[in-house]
C-alpha cells in the first residue's frame, strides 16, 4: 500500500476513535502493513495534518493519537456546545497529584512528609476521578498502599507518557529562584 493511502486510513480511524489510538492498534487493524510503514505514515500524517491551519489537530496523548479541536478555538466551540468548563481539581488535589506523579510508587506517609499535611481526602478524590490508582502494597511494616498515576492521568493532562512531564530539577531550580 502507498504511504499516502495508508495515511488516509489512519486519519479516518483516528477521527472515529473514542480513545487515543496506539500504533500497535493500527497494526492489528491493518495486519498486512509493516509496523515501520505504519509508523512512517503516522509521522507524515501528524506533520501534514498539523501544519495546515485547520480547526483540528492530531495530538499524541497517553501513548496514542487523538484528533481534537485546536485549543485556541475553545471559546467558540464552547459557545456552540454551551458547556461549562469542567470542574477543575483543587490546588490541594493538584499538589497531591504532583507528588504521586513524581514519586510513584508512593505511600500516604510519604505524601504527608512532602506536603506537610494529611492528604487522605485528596488521594480519595483522585482515586474517585481515576487519576490515581493503587499499585500494590509496600513490603514494610504495616504494608501501606502504594499509589501511582493512571492512564486517565495522562489523558487528563494531555501527556504522551510520564517522561513527557518536566523534570523535578526544573521545578527545584524555579523554587530556588522564587525563595
Amino acid at each position: 500500500m502507498e504511504v499516502k493511502e495508508l495515511q488516509g486510513i489512519l486519519e479516518a480511524i483516528i477521527y472515529v476513535a473514542e480513545d487515543p489510538i496506539r500504533p500497535e492498534q493500527f497494526k492489528e487493524i491493518i495486519p498486512d502493513e509493516s509496523f515501520d510503514n505504519i509508523e512512517l505514515a503516522l509521522k507524515n500524517l501528524v506533520e501534514e495534518f498539523n501544519s495546515r491551519p485547520g480547526g483540528m489537530i492530531i495530538r499524541e496523548v497517553a501513548g496514542g493519537f487523538r484528533m481534537t479541536t485546536r485549543p485556541e478555538h475553545h471559546e467558540f466551540v464552547r459557545a456552540y456546545l454551551k458547556s461549562r468548563p469542567n470542574a477543575k481539581l483543587s490546588m490541594a488535589a493538584l499538589e497531591t497529584l504532583a507528588v504521586v506523579a513524581y514519586k510513584q510508587p508512593v505511600t500516604l506517609a510519604e505524601i504527608l512528609a512532602i506536603r506537610g499535611k494529611k492528604s487522605t481526602s485528596a488521594v480519595q478524590t483522585l482515586l474517585e476521578k481515576k487519576l490515581v490508582s493503587i499499585l500494590g502494597r509496600k513490603q514494610v511494616v504495616g504494608r501501606p498502599i502504594l499509589y501511582g498515576t493512571s492512564k486517565e492521568f495522562l489523558i487528563h493532562f494531555g501527556l504522551k507518557d510520564l517522561s513527557d512531564l518536566p523534570t523535578l530539577e526544573e521545578f527545584a531550580q524555579m523554587a530556588g529562584d522564587q525563595l
Partner: protein, 257 residues
C-alpha cells in the same frame, strides 16, 4: 502566589467583618511558612526563626479565633519551629571541637522541606496549566457535552412507579367508555418497544403508554418496559430529578438482534 490577599501579621479581631480567610490559600503549615518568607523577602537560607515563629503562632491564634479547625499538622509545625528556635539559642557544645566542625544548622531540615514543598507546588501549577489546555479541546465524540452522558439522572424505581401511577390516574380520568377486552402479552409489547427504538433514539416514557386502551394494557406495557430494563436493552433517564422520564436504547441493543 495565590496567598497575597491574606493580611499577614495584622492584628485582627474576629468580630470585625473585614477579615476573610481564604481557606485553601493556606493548605497547610508549609504553605503558611512559604507565604511568610516570601512576604518579607526573607532569604530562605537564613530564616530569622524567632520572627517567623512569632508570626506563625500569631496566625495559629487568628485561625483559632476564627474557629478554623486547626489540625495536628499545624501544631506539629509550631512545635518544630519552637524546637529549632530553642536549639539556636543554646550555646555551642563546649565538649565538641567547635572550630573544625561547626554544628549543623538546626534550620537546615526545615529549609529542605520548604524547598521540596515549593518544588511540588510548582509541579502542581504545571499540571494546572496543562489541565487548562486539555479543557479547551474537544475530540470526537465530545464526551463532555453529550446530552445523554452528563447532567442526566438515572431513574430510580420510585420515579418509575410514580410516573406509572400518574399515567394510570390520567387514564382513569380520561376514560369515557369501556373498551373491548384486548389481549396483549408482555412478549408482544417487548417486540413493539424494540421496533419503536429501531426508529427512534429515545421515547418519552409517558408517550409510550398513549395507545393503551385498558388498565391491563397499561400494566402489561409497564412490565414489558421493566423487563427490557432488566435485560439492559434500554435505559431510563431524566434530565433532572422528578422530570420527564426518557426511554433510550442501550449500546448493546444492536447486538441482541
Amino acid at each position: 502566589m495565590e496567598s497575597d490577599e491574606i493580611p499577614a501579621g495584622e492584628s485582627a479581631e474576629p468580630e470585625s467583618s473585614g477579615i476573610t480567610i481564604k481557606l485553601d490559600a493556606f493548605e497547610g503549615p508549609l504553605d503558611l511558612l512559604l507565604h511568610l518568607i516570601k512576604k518579607d523577602e526573607i532569604d530562605i537560607w537564613d530564616i530569622p526563626i524567632a520572627r517567623i515563629t512569632a508570626q506563625y503562632l500569631e496566625y495559629l491564634q487568628l485561625m483559632n479565633d476564627l474557629n478554623i479547625n486547626v489540625a495536628g499538622d499545624w501544631l506539629f509545625m509550631a512545635a518544630t519551629l519552637i524546637h529549632i528556635k530553642s536549639r539556636m539559642l543554646l550555646p555551642p557544645d563546649p565538649s565538641s571541637t567547635t572550630q573544625e566542625e561547626p554544628e549543623e544548622d538546626p534550620r537546615k531540615e526545615l529549609v529542605y522541606q520548604l524547598l521540596e514543598h515549593q518544588k511540588f507546588k510548582n509541579a502542581a501549577q504545571m499540571l494546572y496549566t496543562r489541565e487548562e489546555v486539555e479543557n479547551a479541546v474537544w475530540h470526537n465524540p465530545p464526551q463532555d457535552v453529550v446530552e445523554d452522558a452528563k447532567g442526566v439522572v438515572t431513574v430510580t424505581l420510585f420515579d418509575l412507579v410514580k410516573a406509572f401511577h400518574e399515567i394510570v390516574q390520567r387514564f382513569d380520568a380520561q376514560r369515557s367508555m369501556e373498551m373491548m377486552q384486548e389481549e396483549v402479552s408482555i412478549e408482544e409489547k417487548i417486540e413493539e418497544l424494540r421496533s419503536l427504538l429501531l426508529v427512534h433514539d429515545r421515547l418519552l416514557f409517558s408517550s409510550f403508554f398513549q395507545q393503551a386502551r385498558s388498565r391491563r394494557h397499561l400494566i402489561v406495557t409497564f412490565l414489558a418496559l421493566l423487563e427490557l430494563v432488566r435485560m439492559r436493552e434500554v435505559w431510563l433517564y431524566q434530565k433532572k430529578a422528578f422530570e420527564e422520564i426518557y426511554i433510550s436504547k442501550s449500546k448493546s441493543l444492536g447486538e441482541t438482534f
